[in-house]
Symmetry: C2
């Protein structure tokens, strides 16, 4: 089925790194949201959809990762920035490679900032048909402390939003991890 | 494309009557949610999806519609019940006819009760892949007074939920109407 750009459904998937391992793996809920989109929406109609992967890097979070590093010159910060960039790129590579294998058109990019604000801003700019978000599926008590990006985006993003809750059997030891 | 039942994506669409006209029209937001599902998700892949239309009738609401009626015998209530039933059936006929025209498999049924509770209960029973809900897209001030079914279902339904906000140019004079 040949599909013109106008009739292609553009689905934005916001993805982030796992908090569990050091290597920039995709988080469990990001992978869940991506797999759900492929299996339930895209199915075998690869030409009917375009996936837009947005990864938002949190500047402060990166600082924490480098608590033991010593910054003595502007060069040290430059190498830090390029390391962040490399991690983000490897994360996006996971999703883009998968799409390439099955023949789904995609684009991926990185932004810095507060994920919930940046995602809503990018939705406004890109105007996708649907935003898919993974969610850890935390209870109300846990949510108070960690906040959830998905709850904010469901309320504020200017496009339909679907939240894919993490499967119970994939919950890590600490459910706040992902 | 022939698709076995197992690989079909089952999308539940909760639909309700318009509050504006006397005839059981579909509400603006129900129609919007349905059209969005057809245009953005189902597209030309009619064999890959099955739509499940759930209409929840609110018992009290029907009482209001019949303020001027006089109930003198059990028979009067029986005719009231069958009239409710007829209204609900005509509402569902709109969606089922449309699906039939374009060749999308569907099922439709009516339940009585509190829409948000019944929708979540039916999701648990039917286990659809996705629940699509229309929403009036009211502001926070209006929401306090009218409540929203979609907000409740996003939190409590045991499947991914996507809320389709009513288009601004379709907002009736009183935005609480639909």
């Amino acid at each position: 089925m040949a599909t013109s750009e106008a009739s292609v459904t553009r689905i934005m998937v916001a993805v982030n790194e796992s908090t569990i391992k050091g290597y920039p793996h995709a988080s469990i809920s990001s992978k869940g949201a991506f797999e759900w989109t492929l299996q339930k929406i895209v199915m075998s109609i690869t030409s009917g959809f375009k996936l837009l992967f947005l990864h938002v890097q949190v500047p402060d979070e990166d600082g924490f990762d480098d608590m033991d590093s010593i910054y003595a010159s502007p060069e040290d910060f430059k190498s830090l920035k390029s390391r962040d960039r490399a991690r983000g790129l490897r994360l996006l590579e996971f999703f883009v490679t998968r799409c390439h294998e099955i023949g789904v058109a995609c684009e991926a990019w990185i932004k810095k900032g507060d994920p919930k604000e940046v995602i809503c801003h990018e939705v406004k700019r890109i105007q996708p048909d649907l935003l898919v978000l993974g969610s850890r599926g935390l209870g109300p008590f846990q949510r108070v402390f960690v906040g959830t990006v998905s709850e904010f985006c469901v309320k504020h993003a200017e496009c339909p939003v679907v939240t894919i809750k993490r499967r119970l059997d994939e919950t890590p030891q600490d459910p706040v991890d992902d």
